[in-house]
Symmetry: C2
Subunit: 145 residues, 2 copies
DNA sequence: AGATCAGTTGACCATAATTCTCAATCTCAG
DNA sequence: CTGAGATTGAGAATTATGGTCAACTGATCT
């Protein structure tokens, strides 16, 4: 199985794009994250090591990283783009806590299958999909009492 | 069954809010729409009849209309808020065509039920949820060939 | 009906996320 | 090593949305 970095390198080469230090570094930082960082969160992390890298470059690089199939944009309804790992990660859905912002990733093969069926019924060719449940997580519910 | 306007009137009264002409007119225009208008689309419609009504009022009124349970915010991933009818409309999901922008509303009680189960399994209290499948609709697929 | 007062509006400004511009810089094939 | 072409950094531009505040309006009371 090829590493994420190898995939990225090949993607760039195939497209005649350059393998810049910035892209390499931004990919590195992103791969080390485990949650759903925003552009700004990534930018802050990157700044510590490479204060010269600009915000616009982070935006541009994350787009390339998404196009290469290594990241996926997600949106939890708060008006900010977030990113999560896409390479070697199964598709999953999210339970988003409206109190604390915690995000629980959940797998549901049965829902996935029903979605396929639903699309087929309407002659619709699915490319990607998303499902989020917004509510209150266990911890926040306990605190309320 | 109470009409949407009646519900709105009662909501305003219960909260000590005023029943202004602007709110009435914006609700009227919204109720006549059938798709998923953006704020700007609604503003353009409203302007024709009431050129005095400002954009900020449309934003503010749509929030009130949502709070009153008559509309719901939706997001199709293009960075703009849209609104759809909520009163006397079942919850449904969306098939969003990435080529032509068409949105097909679909019902799936089985998916709804699995979502409930999923939330319960994680001790998560659901408040609302959304599911969108992005892809190519029948018409756009036909054109491709 | 007229006075009153809190809620609302319109016009404009503020903000935040994201993208664009462009001169300077870097990457890489030859 | 060099040149052509891609990329970057800095800051301006854009877009959607929300905030401010003086002027205005709707509902209530008399």
């Amino acid at each position: 199985m090829k590493s994420a970095k190898t995939v990225f390198g090949q993607y760039l080469k195939n497209r005649g794009m350059l393998h810049s230090k910035q892209r390499e570094e931004i990919l590195d930082i992103f791969l080390k994250t485990e949650k759903h960082p925003t552009i700004d969160a990534l930018y802050q992390l990157i700044r510590k090591k490479h204060p010269k890298i600009g915000l616009a470059t982070v935006y541009r690089s994350m787009r390339v990283i998404c196009d290469a199939g290594l990241a996926r944009e997600v949106d939890f309804g708060d008006g900010v783009k977030r990113y999560e790992h896409e390479y070697q990660h199964q598709h999953h859905d999210h339970l988003v806590c409206l109190k604390c912002g915690r995000v629980i990733e959940v797998l549901s093969p049965r829902i996935e299958h029903l979605q396929e069926t639903l699309a087929k019924k309407h002659n619709f060719t699915p490319i990607r999909h998303r499902m989020e449940i917004f509510g209150t997580c266990r911890e926040c519910k306990r605190k309320e009492k």
